[in-house]
Symmetry: C2
DNA sequence: CTGTTAGCGCTTTCAC
DNA sequence: GTGAAAGCGCTAACAG
C-alpha cells in the first residue's frame, strides 16, 4: 500500500467533518453545530446532517477536539504495583467498573503508573504536561494527602476513592462505610454466640483502619462486650497470623476475630490451622473486601463486599459535575455488604453458597 | 489559581514549541528538528535548544502530535469484567507491568471495556474511530480468534498475550509455556513419592488447556506413570471441586492432583476438606497462576508463576517493532516458575516460605 | 543548515 | 441560520 508523496501527513481513511459537510452540501461549521449546538441550526438541515453522519459513520477525532478545546474526555488513573501476597487490590474490578462508567459518558481511561505516592504526583504531572487529561481518579485518599494538594495546585479536577478524613468540603469523593461494615460483621459473629470478639486492624495512623476498628468497637459496646481484644498491624498476611497467635495466647482468648482486610483474615486462618483450630467451628473469622481469595479459600471466608460498580459510577458522576462547573463537590458514602461464608459459622464447616446478607445499617445514603 | 487574562499565549500555561523557539531565537521548526531529527540541526544550535527545552520544561503536546502524525503513542487494552469467584485474572499485575513497559518507550495505556469477545472488537473499533490509537494488546488469544482477524482488517498493529495456536507466523505474541509448567509441577509431586497423579484441566476446545494437560501427560509418560486420571471442566471453583470428588471416588484414586488454574485447584482443596483429607499430607494439589489466593490460602497452594513483567516487556517490544515496520513479528515463549507451598508437600502442613523453584525445562528461549 | 508555508480536524468568533 | 476566517501545537515538504 504505497503512500502517494505529498505535503500533508498520511491519510487514514477516517471520515472527517468536512467529508460530512461536502456530502450534505453545507459548511463544516454547520455540521459541528448540528452536533454540538443543536439550537443554532435549522431543524431541517440538522436532520439531513445527522442522517449523513450516521450514514457515513462519522466519529469526531479526539486529538483534534482536544487540541481545539483543551478537553480530551480522558480520565487519568494510576495503577499501582500489586503484591501477590495481598488479597487483591480490587483494582481489577474497579478499573473495569470505572471504564464502564466512563464510557457511558463518552470518556476513556488513560493509565499512569507509579510505585509510590511521591512518584504518583510526578506521573500525574507528566501525563498532564504531554496529554490533555480532563480529570483524575485517585484511590486511597487519606488525611493530609499530598496528592490532593498537588492536584489542586495543578488546577486539574479530580475525585477520590476514599474520604479525605480531614473534613475537606471541597473534595469530591466516594467511599465505603467500613465502620458500618465492621459493625455488621461483629454483630454477625455475636449472633453466632460469640462474646470474646477481637479485631485485627491497621495502625492508628490509618484513617480507614481507625474507621473500621470503630465499627467493631461500637458493636461490642452496643452488645455489652469487652473491647480489650485488638491488635494493630500492617496489612500483611504474616502480621495477621502473628496477631492471631497473640490474641489466642491470652488468658481469656478470643473466640471470634474480625479483620480490617482479607489479607489479615487469611493470616488469622493460617494461625488457627497452626494451632489445630478450625475457622468457624472453633474461632469465627471475618475479613474485608470479598476478594477472590475469600471466596475460594477453605473454609470460605466471611467478608464485606465493596460496591465497586457504584463507587465507579459515583466517581465518574462527581467528575462530570466538576467538569460542568458544579460548586459543591459530590461526596458519597456507600454501604458494604456482608457476605457470610463458613469461616464465621458454627457447626460443620459447610459453606453456605455465597449469599449476601443485609448490613445492620440503613441503606445507601448519599451526602450531596 | 487564576490564569492572568490575555497575557500568555497558552490557555493552560503549557510551554509550546514556539515558546522555546522564541526563547532561543530560532524557528519552531528547528526546535522540532533538534528534538526529533537531531542530524538536521547544527550541534551548537541543538545544544542551545535542548537547554532551553530543559529550562522551560517544554513537553510536546500529544494531541497536536497525534493530529499531525497519526501516531499518538497510545496503546489500547481491554479490561474485562472480573468475577470474584475466580482466582484473579492477573489483570492487576499485568496492567501495571504493561503500563511500566509502555512508559519506558514513551507510551501510555488507554483502556476500553467490553464484556464479551464480540463487543470487544466493537470497543476497539470505537476507540480507533475516535481516538488515535497506535496499537492494541490482546489477552487470551486462541485458535480462530475473531479479534485477530478483525484487527488485521482494521489495519492496526497489535500483539497478543497468548499464542494463536494455529501456527500463524504473522502474529506477534508472547506466551507462557504451560506445558513446561505442568511438566514441572507433575515431576515435583512425583518427586514427593506420588504415582497416582491426576490432572484437572479445561475442555478439549481450550488450546491453553490442551497445552497444560500435555505437560502433565508428558511427565507421567516420562516417569512411567498412568495417564487415566484426568477431568476436563470449565474454569470454575465448583467444577474443580466436583472433578476432585470424581477422581477420588475411583477404585484406584488419585493421590496427587495437578490443575490448570488456581481456581480449579482451590476447588479441589475444598473437595478434600469435604472428605476429611488434608492437602499436601494426604493428597498433593497444584494450581497455575500463583494468584494471591494461592499464597494466602491454608495450606498455601503450590502454583506456577507467570512472569508477567517479562510478558509485558516483550509485548511492548513486539509492538514497538511492528510500529517501526519490522517484517517478522516477534514471538516469545516464556517459562513459568514453580512456587512450592504446603499443598504439594508431605509431612506436617508447614508452609515453606514461598520460595521459587526452577522449572525442569531449559531457561527462557526466545523465538525471534 | 535554517526558515517559511501549509495543514492535520475541529470549533469559536464574527460577518453575512 | 449559515459560512468564512483563524488557530489550537506540531511537523513534512520545500525553498532559501
Amino acid at each position: 500500500m504505497a503512500t502517494p508523496p505529498g505535503r500533508g501527513p498520511l491519510p487514514h481513511g477516517h471520515v472527517t467533518l468536512s467529508d460530512v459537510a461536502r456530502f450534505v452540501g453545507v459548511s463544516a461549521q454547520s455540521v459541528s453545530n448540528a452536533l454540538n449546538n443543536p439550537g443554532r441550526v435549522a431543524p431541517e438541515t440538522r436532520e439531513k446532517i445527522l442522517s449523513a453522519v450516521e450514514q457515513l459513520g462519522y466519529r469526531p477525532n479526539r486529538s483534534a477536539r482536544a487540541l481545539r478545546n483543551q478537553r480530551s474526555r480522558l480520565i487519568g488513573v494510576r495503577v499501582e504495583p500489586s503484591r501477590d501476597d495481598r488479597a487483591a487490590l480490587l483494582l481489577d474490578q474497579f478499573l473495569h467498573a470505572l471504564a464502564e462508567s466512563a464510557a457511558a459518558t463518552g470518556c476513556h481511561l488513560i493509565l499512569c503508573q507509579a510505585d509510590g505516592e511521591d512518584s504518583e504526583v510526578a506521573a500525574y504531572r507528566e501525563l498532564l504536561s504531554t496529554t490533555s487529561v480532563d480529570a483524575f481518579v485517585l484511590t486511597g485518599a487519606h488525611a493530609g494527602d499530598s496528592r490532593v494538594a498537588a492536584l489542586r495546585e495543578l488546577g486539574v479536577p479530580f475525585a477520590t476513592f476514599g474520604r479525605s478524613w480531614d473534613g475537606d468540603d471541597d473534595l469530591a469523593w466516594t467511599d465505603v462505610d467500613g465502620r458500618a461494615g465492621l459493625h455488621a460483621a461483629t454483630a454477625h459473629v455475636a449472633a453466632q454466640g460469640h462474646t470474646r470478639i477481637a479485631h485485627v486492624g491497621w495502625p492508628e495512623e490509618s484513617d480507614t483502619g481507625r474507621d473500621r476498628r470503630a465499627g467493631w468497637h461500637d458493636a461490642c459496646t452496643d452488645l455489652g462486650l469487652g473491647v480489650d481484644l485488638h491488635e494493630e498491624v500492617a496489612d500483611d498476611f504474616d502480621e495477621g497470623r502473628a496477631a492471631a497467635h497473640r490474641l489466642l495466647d491470652r488468658a481469656d482468648p478470643a473466640t471470634a476475630i474480625t479483620c480490617a482486610s482479607d489479607t489479615l483474615a487469611l493470616g488469622v486462618v493460617r494461625a488457627l490451622a497452626e494451632r489445630g483450630l478450625r475457622p468457624g467451628g472453633d474461632v469465627a473469622v471475618t475479613g474485608f473486601d470479598n476478594s477472590p481469595a475469600a471466596a475460594l479459600s477453605t473454609p470460605g471466608l466471611t467478608s464485606l463486599r465493596q460496591p465497586l460498580e457504584q463507587v465507579a459510577h459515583d466517581l465518574v458522576g462527581a467528575i462530570e459535575e466538576l467538569l460542568h462547573g458544579s460548586a459543591t463537590p459530590q461526596q458519597t458514602l456507600l454501604q458494604p455488604e456482608l457476605v457470610v461464608r463458613a469461616s464465621s459459622l458454627r457447626g460443620p464447616a459447610h459453606d453456605a453458597h455465597p449469599s449476601p446478607a443485609r448490613p445492620l445499617t440503613p441503606p445507601p445514603e448519599e451526602t450531596p
